[in-house]
Amino acid sequence: MAPHSWIIRVYNMPTQKKKLEFKQGRLPSKLRDRLADFVRKLYGEEFIDLIPVNLKYVCFERDLCLIYEKPLRGLDNLTVLFNAPWIAIYVNKHVLPSIPLVARIYREKGVRAAIVVKEQGVKAFLYGNDILVESVLKKIPPDKGVYTVIDGEDGEILGFVEWSEKKKVYVNLYDIGLFLRKLG
């Protein structure tokens, strides 16, 4: 993602002595295309329409950006940083659908491309760790190598993993605990 709008602020108040790297802008079309490809591959062509055309991003670190739809009107003179629900995330060079977007797809079509995980695996995953094969209760097709992680206890979507043939684990791509770890 081109860092074309980095802004660094240093606040002078005693309680605000913090540097922050931050950028935002319109999402490059190639990244939107990558997201659309991902959704097509895992969930089907019919869900491409759930990805809005006018997407923006906000990054608080070089490798963590949230992607959201540009609000419709009345806010042109304001700096909009975020619009919920978020649509996708850019993390460690991956563009992945947001948890709300996947939840919406699952509501319409049922759960797809997912692993259902035991309590111990969930706990490790929410702290940013990978998931061991022993922690997987169930794998739900299609088997494309990338899966959403579902809590076996309450059915909540927790993030994404990718199977690593080399390490023989499900590598954490992002988990919902990331927001506390990275954004505070």
């Binding site: 602020r9 606040y11 605000q16 913090k18 922050l20 931050f22 906000v58 608080f60 949230l66 609000p71 009107r73 009345g74 806010l75 003179n77 304001l78 700096t79 909009v80 940083l81 975020f82 619009n83 919920a84 629900p85 978020w86 947001s98 948890i99 709300p100 939840a103 969930v122 706990k123 929410l126 809590d151 909540e156 927790l158 919902i176 605990g177 927001f179 506390l180 990275k182 954004l183 505070g184």
Partner: protein, 339 residues
């Protein structure tokens, strides 16, 4: 609205008595603050207030009812070793009475999954209940960070309105966005602006505006004792000027018959009744109204303080006193835009 800091300073200036100086030394406060407490409450209640500030308030867990029912959350947290107590006037919230050594209340898996928000104290729930009583529609939270009120408002509105959460401090907005994503809320827009400039930047008008103004935070001394000495009288005058400017300018964003909720985590009349009175003197289109909901017995706003006389309607403001209510010191005034 042009506010002269020197005139504010003259209005709020006081020379502490020997009694105030001695108490200030004993409890570690700036003398003018203790003089203020004596002037408002008398000596006995000042002592009770100073003692109350020495006690820790209980943090509050507010259930994200969009994801889990309060009783189910309570059961899960109690299983982890937390002891929770119901808050009689908030069906989705609990006081955290005791905690295990690990995990902390802000590090459980239930927290990571967005099942709840942790408030430092229950007072910040009150303005949201008051603002949303018999209301659905969009809400502006003009100084929204760290996001407790904005996320609660979004949760209560759900699909019946959008929350516009604005703040000036970027790194605090980062945390707001983190909470929104974690809690899976789908009706918040986050903007970055000086709230005083919103009236020029926003085309939209609102029937509900929350202004939790940046203030001395004097009501939060129990969790941040540094506030006993952080704000000199001159600093206070500068804050008061900003608070007047904020309230005055945000009134332009309120639709006719809409409510502007002015909130501070301060018990200083200078930051509350004085501010609201100044704005009422400058604008005839606002009136202070009674709270639409009685969650518990609130204390009334002040209509006079030292030599200052405020409009009678200021008594409709709500004061939360640490020594009476066992909560943070807090002041809330509901201003209705006249038709």
């Amino acid at each position: 609205m042009n506010i002269d800091i020197a005139s504010v300073y003259r209005d709020i200036y006081t020379t502490p008595t020997q009694e105030a100086v001695e108490l200030a030394l004993k409890y570690g406060y700036l003398p003018y603050m203790v003089q203020r407490y004596i002037d408002m409450l008398g000596l006995n209640n000042t002592l009770k207030l100073l003692e109350a500030f020495e006690k820790r308030v209980k943090p509050v867990v507010r259930t994200n009812t969009l994801l889990i029912q309060p009783r189910e959350l309570k059961k899960r947290l109690e299983k982890l070793g937390f002891q929770l107590e119901e808050i009689p006037w908030s069906r989705e919230s609990y006081w955290v009475v005791s905690q295990p050594e690990s995990p902390s209340i802000g590090a459980t898996h239930e927290y990571l999954k967005g099942y709840y928000y942790v408030h430092r104290d229950a007072t910040s729930l009150i303005p949201v209940y008051l603002a949303l009583h018999e209301y659905s529609g969009d809400v502006l939270d003009a100084c929204a960070a760290p996001g407790g009120k904005a996320t609660f408002t979004a949760q209560l509105l759900h699909d019946k309105g959008v929350v516009y959460a604005n703040d000036l401090v970027l790194y605090r907005l980062k945390a707001v966005i983190g909470h929104i994503a974690r809690m899976k809320l789908n009706n918040i827009i986050v903007t970055w602006s000086d709230a005083r400039k919103l009236r020029d930047k926003l085309k939209k008008r609102f029937y509900r505006v929350l202004l939790d103004a940046p203030c001395s935070g004097e009501g939060r001394i129990s969790v941040d004792p540094g506030r006993k000495t952080r704000t000199s009288l001159l600093d206070l005058a500068i804050m008061v000027k900003r608070e007047i400017e904020l309230l005055y300018s945000l009134a332009d964003l309120v639709e006719k018959n809409g409510l502007l909720v002015y909130i501070t985590c301060s018990i200083a009349p200078e930051e509350n009744e004085y501010v609201v009175n100044k704005v009422l003197e400058a604008r005839s289109d606002l009136e202070v109204v009674e709270p639409p909901l009685k969650l518990f017995n609130y204390a009334k706003g002040l209509t006079e303080y030292r030599s200052l006389k405020f409009k009678d309607e200021l008594e409709h403001c709500i004061r939360i006193w640490p020594h009476i209510h066992g909560l943070f010191g807090y002041t809330i005034c509901l201003l209705r835009k006249r038709n």
